[in-house]
Symmetry: C2
Subunit: 183 residues, 2 copies
């Protein structure tokens, strides 16, 4: 039986995940009662609203800018550090629908730009320099883009689901989302 718990990175399999994330966030969040959008897991944790802003900031400053830097200048100069809390300011005064629309637009443009690079397999081995993690490959950057999207889909579902921690009663043990076993 083949190992079905690890895959090698491939652009053809990664891009369909990246393309779907705006639709996924839209499906979960658009039109949801406001209480769900602004709940979180305590001080300095993200609400679903915060997550969308965080992903927007990534589209603008992280993934494709870093990919271009790897291709253009290699690992001579470190990437700009990523600001995990930039969305606090940037999202202020915006509605969730505006943020979802902005993320959808930015992601579509970035995917189009990624496809336009027409990367060869050997390009994926090219290296850049992360300000903290050191030397990284373009392959690692793009695989992280995919995993990062899914990490935040998980976060949104977890933040919302855990609001009912006290409400599920004896079912706690059956729900990884609430029991806190890896979920």
């Amino acid at each position: 039986m083949p190992d079905t718990s690890q895959r090698a990175f491939s652009l053809d399999e990664a891009i369909p995940i990246l393309e779907r994330t705006p639709r996924t966030l839209d499906a979960i969040l658009r039109g949801l009662p406001a209480a769900w959008l602004h709940c979180n897991e305590g001080a300095d944790t993200f609400s679903p609203f915060d997550v969308v802003g965080h992903l927007i900031h990534g589209e603008k400053t992280d993934w494709m800018p870093r990919a271009r830097m790897i291709l253009e200048t290699g690992d001579q100069r470190a990437f700009e550090p990523f600001d995990r809390f930039a969305q606090k300011e940037a999202s202020r005064g915006k509605t969730l629908d505006e943020l979802l629309d902005e993320f959808t637009r930015l992601r579509a443009a970035n995917i189009a730009a990624l496809k336009a690079l027409a990367l060869k397999p050997s390009d994926l081995d090219r290296r850049g320099k992360h300000p903290k993690l050191g030397s990284v490959t373009l392959r690692q950057l793009l695989a992280t883009w995919v995993a990062h999207d899914l990490d935040h889909v998980i976060q949104i579902a977890r933040v919302i689901g855990r609001q009912y921690t006290d409400e599920v009663g004896p079912w706690t043990a059956h729900l990884r989302i609430i029991s806190g076993t890896q979920g």
Copy 2:
């Protein structure tokens, strides 16, 4: 600052989550390369394809049938035990798109039926008997339905994201999905 990490159960807030799950699964999964649909986390774990079948089985045998049993017969007789692996047989030979369509149809019918019950707040305190967990309320059953949906959205994102465990390189530590810290 209000506590934003716990909410009391309310039908008006729970139903919008339940209504969105078919769209969410559709957004993540429909049209995705088959390799993503059938990957898992090892022996006896669910693939994304398995999850959709599991949710279908829940629509048929778990949530609304148990809610009706609470309202009709109370806690005199225990619920039928839920078969966590029923989908292995039931999904055989079906395509993912067929399963997504079936889940969408069943969920819509169940939400319509839930609304038609026109539950009063006092109904939420009515009790049923779980075959293992003992006495449970209708409120706990419905809160668990919500959390269970989100648990499986998380599972789908986690199963897919972890396929790139070896591909993200030094970013492992930044990604909860892969580092295995609660996510």
